[in-house]
Symmetry: C2
Subunit: 230 residues, 2 copies
Amino acid sequence: MANNARFAEVASLAGDPARAGMLHALMDGRALTASELARVAGITPQTASGHLARLATAGLLTVEKQGRHRYHRLASPSVAQMMESIMQVASGLEAMRPPPVTGPKDAALRAARTCYDHLAGHLGVSLADALVAGGHVELMQDAGVVTDAGVALFRRIGLDVASLSGKTARLFCRPCLDWSERRPHLAGAVGRALCAHSLEEGWIRRLEGTRAVAVTPKGHRVFREAIGVR
Amino acid sequence: MANNARFAEVASLAGDPARAGMLHALMDGRALTASELARVAGITPQTASGHLARLATAGLLTVEKQGRHRYHRLASPSVAQMMESIMQVASGLEAMRPPPVTGPKDAALRAARTCYDHLAGHLGVSLADALVAGGHVELMQDAGVVTDAGVALFRRIGLDVASLSGKTARLFCRPCLDWSERRPHLAGAVGRALCAHSLEEGWIRRLEGTRAVAVTPKGHRVFREAIGVR
DNA sequence: AAAATGCTTCGGCCAGGACCGAAGCATCCC
DNA sequence: GGGATGCTTCGGTCCTGGCCGAAGCATTTT
């Protein structure tokens, strides 16, 4: 079965610690240079170069040449979703394994981070909870929809979710199980839009070099007063 | 980052061709013995035993001892979903790679197969298409719902989907991109129920030793007349 | 031009792990 | 009991692939 070979190729590509580290670093959707990726993976540039070449020719990454830099990013959202689902399984094991070693950097990640294109961590889960509690979103295991009240709420904070909808009248969002909180948060078109909007409006901002984000004072206010978090 | 190690462990576990083959064989949700799995992977029982032990201690598989047989199955749906998402990425690459080598066995798989707990392949996609065309299901990229007309349709063929719904009034189903057809089919609670019901009613039956299924004459009739396939 | 920076290619080292044959336990059957 | 059958453990071979140092290109800077 030729398919099996491709499957194994992709999985083993993600299965090397150094490459996994680099892929993780790219999970926030940005493009990073080869040297930056070498640093986060803790390997020399030569070694990283080899890894990146393999990932690129396999189609997991796309490379953009710019001057003497080469910017790497995940080739598609489906790669990010694959990463998420592997994390999902990996964190599931964690439950019955040695205690979670939580460093200070880890704490920031747990508090709030981006999950490729949407918000995750404690912040992501809190937002989802508040939206569900307020009747703005209905979530189930496999899918979710934004209610009419939800559409109104999003418009109030300056986000026109109605324009995200395709031919259908309904507005869907995808629940995404959080590996640290073990509860669903908002992904899909709505989650992506909310995350992007929050960055634009300055409600959150990225922390240098990680996927972690910080909630600004303005963001605290909006999330609490408009959405009802906490 | 300790998480990274777990991630890499899981991915590399899936990244070995022999193990990938065994995991694939288990994607229909059934439990298989060690020797059966050794055969599908094309390796000796000793080698398979080692692989299975690793997969089990890592938590990807659960083992059930029964007499002198040991039955192995995927530990959880999240493992199946991980497999799906890796297949997704792997088949994405296929687009720009050598032509798909389609053997006769592959043809059966493309026609109709189970994807862990729901129907995929040409059959799965056709069913989804027909349900959407008939206004029984609304599908978008991230999620889908069964309409009132859909609930009635499912009841007509003896499937009480209303009982699947949790606390919410709505009935969700998850779209799952098909690796052979490149189009979405029905997964999630509704997809699972439809697949199980079809097996019970004898509309489809499993082909020995693979994930492929055959549509029976009775099944052809039901799918065509009640759901409007083809 | 010359030097610095970012990245890649080459060559060689080394460890992890995939594989099988043989042997050892269990369990079931006669 | 004796003999199949299913599975595992052990020991040993072999090869893939990850890693780095050194050298080689390409681009930008001085």
